[in-house]
Point group: C2
Chain length 358, copies 2
């Protein structure tokens, strides 16, 4: 499916990233977020995303979709064929939000959840149409990082998973479907494992956050931007490949090389330590500057990978080539009426509703 | 210090990478590796490294150092001022090797160990001059990835650490000194944590090795090539920064988001599963092809990061700018006599000794 009209429920760091990706693909987005500063925050994300897409638009960009702010979930979702939920990570809040979405949304609208860890089955337990719901978990910044973990629940329709995959792929994403449900899925489990160990290293005074970050970005982080863990280790096995690597390093699993048997106690002292060291590392840049630097680097890396293999591209670079081409193709197409209207400066009803909020 | 004459003990994947980095910096290297095919294997690494450095040599390259093969550790180290040990990861082998190195090396030669996990203090326990020994742990491919974890032992000299830092920095590396000893240091603890969790995900059938790798290289791997974990999360905290991030995600530490309480049983079944999936993912490329692709991607990513911040460069890219400049500067300099001789095609004694090995 292609997306005609999107609704984003929640406009934080992740929700804002979805709004930006959708709008920059020429899709109109209705937003609901009760936060009094939601629009300002989304605008900041949009600004970053526009800068990044401008650089990526070697072949043009579609006319930006119109972003409107609705006074309620019901208003935001009522005409949508694509609904992305990105509210805070509490199951009760997720359940309440999904109930409100379902009560007003078209019965066949796609509903994806940005949850970092809950299972679709648990979130869908009270839904009337759980067959059109699944987890669609992106990574920050959503408008640039292509990955999307699609995790269907027990009642998600088989055909619907394919429809969802097509929808997310149509906005430049790389979908990996995870068919066995597990808390936190794949990406966040790996991140959580590394994060726990990282906190131990900081807490125990082995290194500072800056030293740890440097070990990543001058070391294995460069590897993981283009090959993951297993492909990298296949090479490390040398001519004998993966079996050799496993035989050589497998036994190390039993060595006490991590503290992960324990969870570091999360107290004020640890928060202070990390926050203070983080200020020393990055305090010279504002968050906005860091976002700009990050985005320019991410686009730069994807462009570098796009030139690989004689211009065919590799990994995220191969996808980047296709995405840039697709954005350019869409630039030539007729845009939606709503976008035309918006361009002409005529405020829409939903835009007017904004004043009611917060 | 700058390095005048290097010895590399062990010519495997890591040792070969050291040899290539040193030789391409114009330094003569004496190698000892009892493996009958050591020279062929090192030559393969040199071939890869030459290809990568050729691309990096925008400003020229120094005349390549001469690589000679010694018949014994004693012969390899006797004239060296820089000795890098990269033998298999067994403490008894390390101790025996270090004893042989010390018996023949100049008393003030730098001795660095490539160990992935042993503490310098444990390795130096029988050394006569432990003050000039430390762990210098690189990541594969050593000739391209800049990171070097320098971990002094209890008896390592304070001034010596600075000397070692200068030596490794002189061949383009980014040194992070870790002053508190811990098995596996920092990088490998993070890798081990992620690796354990990854094996659980494969063993439990949540995803395949290809899917897991894709989630990395289309997702957080792209982030970690340019900012590490803490700087990335600082941004994720949004305008409220690191304290907000910690407060928001800290409690998740206690959730059952990893299986790291347990170590996955390392049996034939798991090795088969991973190796078979790895063949499906990467079997269409030989290890040599994968190495070429990886190296081109790594150089491409570093070049992209080198253009960041209006050409000043960011992270590994900033270092890349300096390294390319430095290689070019060295290209103008007079090269060592040994290198001249080698260039003239006159075989050296050590080269002749090669036939005795294996």
């Amino acid at each position: 499916m292609t997306i005609t009209r999107a609704a984003c429920i929640g406009g934080g760091v992740i929700g804002g990233g979805w709004i930006a990706r959708l709008a920059l693909n020429g899709i109109d987005v209705a937003v609901y977020d009760p936060h009094p500063e939601a629009k300002r925050k989304v605008d900041e994300v949009m600004k970053n995303a526009r800068r990044a897409y401008k650089r990526m638009a070697a072949k043009g960009l579609p006319k930006e979709g119109k972003v409107t702010y609705a006074a309620s979930i019901a208003e935001a979702v009522k005409d949508a064929d694509f609904i992305q939920e990105s509210v805070p990570e509490r199951l009760d809040v997720k359940l309440k939000t999904l109930a409100e979405i379902e009560a007003a949304a078209p019965a066949d609208a796609l509903i994806g959840s940005s949850t970092s860890g809950f299972k679709a089955t648990d979130m869908a337990k009270d839904m009337k149409h759980p067959e059109r719901f699944l987890v669609a978990h992106p990574f920050n910044p959503v408008y640039l990082l292509p990955i999307n973990e699609l995790v269907p629940g027990e009642k998600t329709g088989k055909a619907f998973v394919e429809r969802a995959k097509a929808a997310y792929t149509s906005i430049g994403m790389k979908c990996v479907v995870i068919n066995k449900e597990i808390d936190a899925f794949v990406g966040n489990r790996l991140l959580e494992a590394a994060w726990r160990e990282a906190l131990w290293l900081i807490k125990d005074g082995i290194c500072t956050v800056e030293e740890l970050d440097d070990i990543m970005r001058y070391g294995f982080g460069l590897r993981w931007a283009q090959m993951g863990m297993f492909q990298t280790y296949r090479i490390a096995g040398g001519e004998a490949g993966m079996r050799h690597f496993m035989a050589q390093f497998g036994p190390a699993l039993a060595w006490p090389w991590t503290k992960l048997m324990d969870v570091p106690e999360f107290n004020d002292e640890l928060v202070d330590l990390v926050a203070t060291q983080s200020d020393e590392q990055s305090g010279k840049w504002s968050i906005r500057e860091l976002e700009r630097i990050r985005d320019e680097n991410l686009v730069g890396i994807m462009e570098a990978l796009a030139k690989a293999e004689k211009g065919k591209g590799w990994g995220a670079g191969e996808l980047h080539n296709a995405y840039v081409k697709q954005l350019g193709k869409a630039a030539g197409k007729k845009v939606s009426k709503a976008a035309e209207k918006a361009k002409a400066g005529k405020p829409k009803k939903k835009g007017a509703a904004k004043g009611k909020r917060g």
